[in-house]
């Protein structure tokens, strides 16, 4: 096919710079593939027809918005790398008599070509991989799925529109930058070195202060509800601080190293340090971007993997038995409770359902504000007035008889004594006072399952304090109204498959709901149904987390690669001179290694530090999702750090090899 003049120039331009264009196009393709897959899963029929699929789709929709914003910013950013290398060519065209309009046409065709290549590749890969990811996701959600292949034309269209738009912005941006520079600037853009930068203490100090502030926010958060908002504040601060620190910090560090004669005038460091100083600012910004991307990878993958691997435990915690009933009632009359219990037992017998491990308890609870370790304010209005939610907690009374029956122990308590268990809050001290009532705490219960029967108390974000007492207290407010809420917890294990489980639950619900009076609340839960919610939702999170981490990682790799390639071309002539005045090939290798140890280890190290400080916050946010296992979180975080560091080092080694090949020919 005969191409027109401009398309041909554009094609040649891409072909000649393939070392730069291929990774760029691959990244574009990867991003559009991931975008397509997420869009396909989030809008497709498959998920909306599976149990737990709707919440999964919400999560996935969130994911493709993230990818959309991220790929927009990232592609615009990396394209500026490309254009910097190309400016010389455009300057030459300009000098040879092309006006900016003609250059614009070349650029236009380049945009079209890269768009067509990356979108075709991306969407094809997306379609091919979408089935695989569907299977993977369904497997993570523990759902069955058929093997038929499908293409969502809607998602294809959305992907095309979105990426055409992003490339359009890139095109306009490049046009603006070309229009406002003269040919000489264009020709020299590539070789323009920075003036020896002054170490800017002010920026450095600002960076340290902002980072310190963000870290303080991160580690002092007590309450997971406000954590979500503060998390974003801290993230923004950390990003700003990282740029400030990397830009000024790397200048400072290299200047200090340069002052140390014994270090600087060593053939391993001499060349690398001088080159670092030479392009410090750009370097700093690149390193900061790598650091932030690596942090994103670490946070995303450690959090979501922890959710996924902790989902089973979270589920067991929430559903200690296969079948659970919770019945909130008023007053102290328990005849209705007896009716419900005998109905359930009779139905089970009638249907020949095997059951075991029956446990029940009636908790009497009231909300309070834990104003100090051993004082709880029970005035509801006063509690309402407290601005901070983190003092709110439920006091749940359990009678000693039920406790003894449940645990098989034989403990007797005096009226002013209690046993206690704190769920998601600090243990009590020696005494506990609420209103005018005071108990001596004679024992802290160790086994959670001795008193906590899953349900509300576990899934609610408000912490609970369980008190096992001899006699239920009566607590009234000023008007003499009973403040206590009573709830019957009943649960047992049965061995039913998924369908029978849902059927029986439904049947019993139909009867029981007709037998409660308004103002009372009854609800039943089965572990089987909860499983789809928990495993499904957390599986989706992990799946999305892995995809996003993959995209972030690819982006970080691309930045590292571009850094090395661009610097390689810049340094080519310099290394040529150095070889003439006596630099050996091994010296070049040593110099590259020194560069790695001095500066390239920074981003990953700082990313790990960020992660360490984000840790308490992540832990609190995971609490919202019922993940309490600290050991799991620590090990997931450690494994993520390890894997990321290994990938980082490997990528660095490979790209520095490319660099070595360029500079040493």
């Amino acid at each position: 096919m005969k191409l027109g003049f401009y398309p041909r120039l554009a094609k040649e331009g891409i072909r000649k710079n393939k070392q730069l264009y291929i990774p760029y196009l691959l990244t574009c393709a990867c991003m559009s593939a991931v975008f397509y897959i997420l869009n396909y899963l989030a809008t497709g029929d498959l998920l909306s027809h599976t149990h737990g699929g709707e919440s999964a789709q919400t999560v996935l929709a969130l994911g493709f918005v993230v990818i959309l914003i991220f790929s927009g910013i990232f592609l615009i950013y990396t394209n500026s790398f490309l254009i910097r290398r190309r400016k010389k060519e455009f300057g030459l065209y300009n000098i040879l008599g092309m006006n900016k309009k003609n250059i614009g046409r070349i650029l236009f065709w380049e945009t079209i070509i890269s768009l067509v290549i990356s979108l075709t590749g991306g969407i094809l890969a997306g379609i091919l991989l979408s089935k695989g990811s569907e299977l993977l996701l369904m497997n993570m959600m523990e759902n069955e799925v058929g093997f038929h292949m499908s293409i969502s034309w809607g998602s294809v269209l959305t992907t095309i529109v979105v990426y055409t738009f992003i490339h359009g912005i890139i095109f306009l941006k490049t046009m603006v930058s070309i229009t406002f520079s003269n040919p000489i600037e264009l020709v020299r853009a590539d070789t323009f070195g920075e003036k020896n930068p002054k170490a800017n203490w002010l920026l450095g100090i600002a960076g340290v202060v902002i980072l310190g502030f963000a870290y303080i926010i991160a580690i002092t958060i007590r309450d997971p509800i406000s954590a979500l908002f503060l998390f974003f504040v801290a993230v923004v601060l950390v990003i700003i601080a990282t740029y400030l620190l990397m830009i000024s910090g790397s200048v400072l560090m290299c200047k200090l190293l340069q002052k140390n004669k014994n270090y600087y005038y060593n053939k391993k460091h001499f060349v690398s340090i001088s080159q670092l100083v030479y392009r410090m600012k750009r370097n700093g910004a690149g390193l900061a971007s790598i650091c932030i991307l690596m942090t994103m990878v670490l946070v995303t993958i450690s959090t979501t993997s922890c959710m996924y691997f902790g989902s089973r435990a979270a589920m067991e915690h929430r559903y200690p038995r296969d079948y659970m009933v919770q019945y909130d009632f008023q007053g102290t009359d328990t005849t209705k409770v007896d009716e419900l219990r005998s109905y359930i037992m009779d139905t089970l017998k009638e249907k020949n359902v095997e059951y075991s491990d029956v446990v029940e308890e009636i908790t009497t609870s009231l909300p309070g504000a834990r104003l100090s370790k051993d004082y709880i304010e029970i005035d509801y209005n006063a509690v309402n007035g407290y601005s901070s939610l983190d003092k709110l907690c439920y006091i749940r009374f359990v009678s000693i008889d039920e406790y003894n029956q449940h645990t098989g122990k034989n403990i007797t308590l005096k009226d002013d004594e209690c046993l206690s268990y704190s769920l998601r809050t600090d243990d009590l001290g020696k005494t506990i006072t609420m209103g005018n009532k005071e108990y001596k705490v004679i024992e802290i219960i160790e086994q959670e399952e001795d008193v906590v029967l899953g349900g509300d108390a576990v899934s609610d974000i408000v912490p609970s304090i369980y008190l096992v007492v001899n006699q239920m207290p009566s607590i009234t407010n000023d008007k003499g109204e009973d403040m206590l809420e009573r709830c019957w917890h009943f649960c047992l294990n049965w061995k039913l498959d998924k369908e029978a489980d849902a059927l029986l639950d439904q049947e019993m619900n139909d009867y029981m709901f007709n037998n409660i009076v308004p103002g009372e609340r009854l609800f039943t839960d089965t572990k089987e149904q909860g499983r789809s919610d928990y495993i499904g939702l957390y599986g989706t999170f992990f799946y999305l987390g892995s995809l996003l981490s993959f995209v972030f990682l690819i982006s970080a790799v691309l930045i590292i690669y571009y850094k090395q390639i661009c610097e390689g071309y810049e340094d080519e002539a310099r290394f040529n001179i150095m070889q003439k005045v006596g630099m050996k090939k091994e010296d070049i290798k040593k110099s590259i290694n020194s560069q790695m140890l001095t500066i390239f280890i920074f981003p990953i190290a700082l990313a790990v530090v960020h992660l360490v400080f984000a840790f308490p916050m992540i832990q609190k946010i995971l609490l919202l999702f019922g993940i309490l296992d600290l050991k799991l979180l620590i090990s997931m975080t450690a494994i993520s750090c390890l894997i990321c560091t290994i990938i980082y080092v490997v990528v660095y080694k490979i790209t520095s090899n490319t660099y070595y090949k360029i500079v040493s020919h």
Binding site: Y265, Q579, G582
Partner: protein, 252 residues
């Protein structure tokens, strides 16, 4: 024994598939005595750049041999070539070849640092050279902050600092204005008088007129040579330009 002996040097360039070959050097023979200041002249394409590259051990001859202080280049392993070059030869280039990532001082230190010289000795070795070349006050500046002449003096300092047996200069005045050229040539004469052997490839009759001997290369052989003896620079200049005219007319 001469400091440098060049025997029967021949260099043939082949095209990639070996169909065509170009003979850049046919048969070059000459020797350089300790303390000599030699200029090699010739037209473009006469093979002088090839000769310099081979003398600098950047390129290998097809035939023939070079012996520096009794040591033949062909006996040096290629892995040790870089060190050999660094320790025995000093280079001054037309385009200065200073690195803009380094200050002038660090540029001058570069060969020493690469040779693993202790940082303590660097300053000691630089000071006398910088003083002689008049660049002591410029040492902290960067190449893009100083003039061409100053850059070339820094490049000379870089060549001198390793105490090389011989300095190879490739068109050292080629990128300089006439005032800077004069200064540089006087500088070369000065360091030559202190005993430094210099071998310079040049187009410039004026530059060559400072040398103690001028070799003319044509069609890959040393065609002619002139000794300065007691001539003044002006007399030498006249003699060189006469010779060049003769060469240009066909020389026979």
């Amino acid at each position: 024994m001469s400091l440098l002996e060049v025997n029967g040097l021949k260099k043939v360039y082949k095209t990639r598939f070996g169909h065509n070959s170009v003979e850049a050097l046919k048969d070059v023979n000459f020797s350089v005595e300790q303390g000599e200041y030699i200029a090699i002249m010739g037209e473009s394409g006469s093979g002088k750049t090839t000769l310099l590259n081979i003398l600098a051990a950047l390129d290998k001859p097809t035939e023939g041999n070079i012996i520096l202080e009794g040591k033949s280049f062909s006996q040096i392993k290629s892995s040790q070539m870089v060190e050999f070059r660094r320790d025995h030869l000093g280079f001054v280039f037309q385009e200065f070849n200073l690195l803009d990532t380094f200050s002038l001082e660090d540029n001058i230190y570069l060969p020493l640092v690469l040779a693993g010289e202790s940082p303590k000795n660097l300053k000691k070795r630089l000071d006398p050279i910088a003083k002689r070349l008049g660049i002591s006050s410029l040492l902290k500046k960067y190449p893009y902050e100083v003039s061409g002449g100053q850059k070339q003096r820094a490049a000379v300092a870089r060549a001198l600092i390793t105490n090389p047996e011989i300095i190879l200069a490739d068109e050292p005045t080629g990128a300089l204005d006439s005032k800077s050229s004069d200064e540089l040539l006087n500088l070369f004469s000065e360091i030559n008088q202190l005993g430094q052997t210099i071998l310079m490839v040049t187009h410039s009759t004026k530059a060559a007129s400072h040398a103690s001997r001028v070799l003319f290369i044509k069609d890959g052989v040393v065609f002619h040579q002139i000794y300065k003896g007691n001539m003044t620079n002006e007399q030498m200049y006249q003699k060189i330009s006469d010779t060049l005219t003769l060469l240009a007319q066909g020389g026979e």
